[in-house]
Point group: C2
Chain length 387, copies 2
């Protein structure tokens, strides 16, 4: 393969100069030779998670038993406060709870109720499936109309959008698009699943109103770690979320006759939080916070540039944006045999990527764990196997 | 304290003859002298959970990484199948997922849609808060009426009921009450939170249609372990649950344009399951299944009888039913200073009970971990402190 050796050498040089390289040591790596490029579906485990989960089991559950709920009760908000600076929000604007799907449902229905005079929800028909299915189900139940795309917004109640596209990695300008929707009278719900832990996002600076996202991708929270909800502080007093669960109740253990929601982000909570999954989210968020989101984003840009350089030198086709400002954390290589190539990368080359319909090989670069040499090895392998 | 020594001696004799006594060794006990009578708020940790969580972290997450989702994807249904016989259901009628509050919302809205010609939801105004708040929120959003109590059912869409009352421990006859509602054209949603893992329930035998419950109480699944949903097999084809999340989709990774729900209990799933919390639920369910739900129920009855005997001999007031068939897994001692007494039991006597408004000291007897001597020591302590 022409250029392969050269790319491997360039990658090694990048790895030597990578200011975040040492952060990989914070993670439990079982197979150091594996090129793990699926961290944007499931991040790797921080080493600290092991000890913290063990402490949760031994000291807090077994030792403290029910008494530990004193400490656990507000964990979703404490972990939310830790996540907030990573996405440009205030500590009291974020709670970590439930799943992205549940939180999407909650925040979209919440948003719809804030625009009772409108009956259209706008979404990109190419957006992630659960976003689309949730929008469709809410529209069907509440007699609303779903509109494809965001050109016309002046009758839209809520625009539901992903900040970073799960296939192309294209970044949408959330400040510009939130402002455009706002000036048309529409609210915007941002899905940050492919952005949180990778990009500074800047929710407050963008004037963002409502957002959700997951913690198991770039935030390395673990399989099915809980998602999060963001509500801008100037909106929180107005929102009436649909669930009215007892963990959103002002004086929860008074168990009073009627629901009286907390006056802060706690009102977006629903039921009893799963502490094991939440502690995983907390550990992942901590590691990202310590490494620094700006340094993470800087390395993400370098990884992306290098991956595109590899694609170009190896003759691979990609639809991922060239402009750093418009590119998220993965590179998509387009190939008609993408599905089969992803399987062969795993079976023959110890490279884990993932396949997305119809023709996408997604190479996810997670800045705290992905090496430039992983990118070189993966792209060379794609070129060799498809050549 | 008269009778105290006698009760302690009787308790010791019961403990020697307890066929389930050895099951306490399956649990990680930090303080063997603690009388832990709050297992119906948070069960104790099975020892096996420690190893299984560790394996999940090391082998499945760190080792398998994204590949482990092949194994994880159907875990909510596999764990549901393990739980099913403990509540008298078929393996394909139960899924373990999300929280009780989310599942209540889901199942109640699902039920309401199955009775589109009716507009009343019936609930006991003394039921658990999250049940009441969720019913109120659905009624408010969908323009339905909430009725207190179950006397008149002929215009009711859904009756939402707890099988075992969280304060008095009174058991409702789910067969009789489901039949009565059914003959009036109403569906019944059973909340089994204080029954699952304690009582055989017998959902199929009772003709039960819909149910939810939690796994962190008598099933010892851990803090915030996921809840479960039961839908009778003859109903599953008809239900249209409100969320339409991608984990309920027939061919999930085709990521097709429209939602096409699975044809089995999997359609009640919503988003990405938290694997750490789910593995805890699985371990707890396994221990209960191995001990046997009939043996658990038999010991529960003996613990309750003995606790009532203690109350009588010590002059304590209780509103817990005397009839074994109508009594669940805890004893409630009524006392005007209940709140203060619960605090003193913990601080001065190493007894953990809990307080429920307005005047209830709840002594939860969890048959796999509670000793008769715990019950004797706790009731004697209540009598002494309040005497």
């Amino acid at each position: 393969m022409p250029n392969a050796d050269e790319l491997v050498a360039i990658a090694a040089e990048h790895d030597r100069n990578d200011p975040l390289a040492a952060w990989r040591d914070e993670f439990y790596v079982v197979d150091p030779d594996l090129a793990y490029l699926d961290g944007n579906s499931l991040g790797m485990p921080p080493k600290r998670t092991f000890g913290r989960v063990d402490r949760l089991m031994r000291d807090e559950w077994a030792g403290g038993l029910i008494r530990s709920w004193e400490h656990w009760l507000d964990m979703p908000q404490r972990v939310g406060a830790q996540l907030a600076p990573l996405i440009g929000a205030q500590p009291d604007e974020v709670a970590v709870h439930d799943s992205t799907t549940v939180n999407l449902y909650q925040i979209i229905r919440t948003a719809v109720r804030l625009r009772p005079d409108r009956s259209v929800i706008a979404i990109d028909p190419g957006d992630f499936p659960t976003d689309r299915y949730v929008v469709d189900s809410i529209a069907a139940a509440d007699g609303l109309t779903v509109r494809a795309g965001f050109e016309q917004l002046d009758d839209v109640a809520v625009a539901v959008r992903s900040m970073i596209d799960y296939r192309s990695a294209e970044i949408t300008d959330i400040a510009a698009e939130t402002a455009r929707a706002r000036s048309a009278g529409a609210l915007t719900v941002w899905d940050l699943s492919h952005a949180a832990g990778l990009h500074p996002v800047g929710l407050n600076a963008a004037g963002a109103q409502l957002a959700v996202g997951c913690t198991y991708k770039f935030l390395n929270g673990g399989p099915g770690a809980p998602a999060f909800t963001y509500v801008a502080s100037d909106l929180i007093g107005d929102v009436d979320e649909p669930f009215h669960g007892w963990f959103a109740q002002t004086d929860q253990f008074a168990m009073g006759p009627t629901f009286d929601p907390r006056d802060d982000i706690g009102r977006m909570r629903i039921g009893t939080p799963g502490m094991f999954s939440l502690i995983g989210a907390q550990c992942g968020i901590e590691v990202s916070a310590e490494a620094g989101i700006d340094a993470i984003r800087a390395k993400s840009i370098e990884l992306g540039r290098f991956a595109l350089e590899c694609c170009d030198m190896l003759g691979l086709t990609t639809s991922t944006p060239r402009d750093d400002e418009r590119r998220g954390g993965h590179i998509c290589v387009n190939h008609p045999d993408a599905r089969q190539l992803v399987a062969r990368l795993a079976a023959e080359r110890n490279v884990l990527a993932d396949f997305r319909e119809p023709n996408v090989i997604r190479l996810g670069c997670s800045p705290l764990t992905t090496r430039f040499s992983d990118v070189a090895r993966a792209t060379v392998a794609v070129a060799e196997l498809s050549g």
